[in-house]
Amino acid sequence: MTKQHVTASVNGDATEFLCDAGDTLLSVLRDDLNLTGAKEGCGSGDCGACSVTMNGRLVCSCLVLAVEAEGAEITTIEGMAEGEVLHPLQRKFIEHAALQCGICTPGILVAAKSLLEKNPNPTEVEVRYWLAGNLCRCTGYDKIINAVMDAAAEMRGA
């Protein structure tokens, strides 16, 4: 089996890796680049735990082949905080107790950040629909929605 060579930007860093043609971006992130923040909850695009952005678009990294990342800009949960300064969404998730087990949290944060970049002032309903592809089994979503709304308000300077 011949490995494919891929060059991509991951969280702003130029990154090279070798992969099999059938490897998913998720498996390369986790097993080769040691970025284990993205989780495999389903492997079929139904749970959102592996959410990352690719060239600015929110995607499930389990539904992207690693070879497709050639030349792409990938951002993961590990790229969200700046050094020791948390992103407002991260801070609000802790403040609002928007996580219990936390396994869905990285994916939800990546998805929520993507929403607020596109729509800084979403309604609660818009947040719920945007995040419909991110399953959380612990919280009933209530505190997650509160945290996203509060972070959005803070980021707008409201």
Partner: protein, 291 residues
Amino acid sequence: MQYAAPETATQAARLLAESSGTAKVLAGGTDILVQMKFGAGAPDLLVDIKRIAGMSDITPEDGGYRVGAAVSGAELGEHKGMCALWPGVVEAFELIGSTQVQGRCTLAGNLCNASPAADSVPAMVAAKAVARIVGPDGERDCPVQEIPISPGKTSLGKGEFVASIYFPARPDNASDAYLRFIPRTEMDIAVCAAGVSLTLDADGTCIDAQVSLGAVAATVLLVQDAADALIGSKLDDAALDALGVACSAACNPIDDKRGTIEFRRDVTAVLAKRAAKTAQSRAQIRAGENA
């Protein structure tokens, strides 16, 4: 599995044609990667068409739009022209999967996956959309409706792939709508679905209509009796009832884990009626805006 990312459509067609094993086209990958993991396994060759010029473009053409085979749901939803001209197609496409899936899924992929429950296909069929197919022998155009022939199977020949889908121009007082039924609010496969595209005359009478149904037969149905029920009417209750009866009669559904035959027959009629009303109201608004 071999992976190839050719830069021209001709190369892609040649790779597909010359492959001795199973060869598949990769656009958004939202179906094929799931099949690779949980279904049939990996094909021998995967041809990624996203590096071919034009595949991610939405181009005005003769008053309509040509949508490249790699345009994602998110991109189409951000296109003001398509949203104004074919809102039913855009809403059908945007119903597929999550926000994450929208970042990747494509109309061409939804079409060529040939699922009877594909959301965008009934809307495209009602829109009389035409697929441009590239193959080893060059290009050809084919009505979208003729591409899926049975669950998982298409009419595409060896080496052929859909490169773009054309949505034609339409009069100002015309519009479309798509509705599907799912048990949750998101993330499900359609249990049944209806797309309605119609054109009104100046006094609001329906003069042209297409009604398509999804997930109630092996392929998407285009129901002439249902269209006839609308044509000549102002979508009064009698016309809508006739539409519902025609849709239920046209269904040939199955019982499965997602729904029953009876449920699909009944709810398809409900959806068709609701979609027709939405299409009518959109056409009226659009006519008003363009007047």
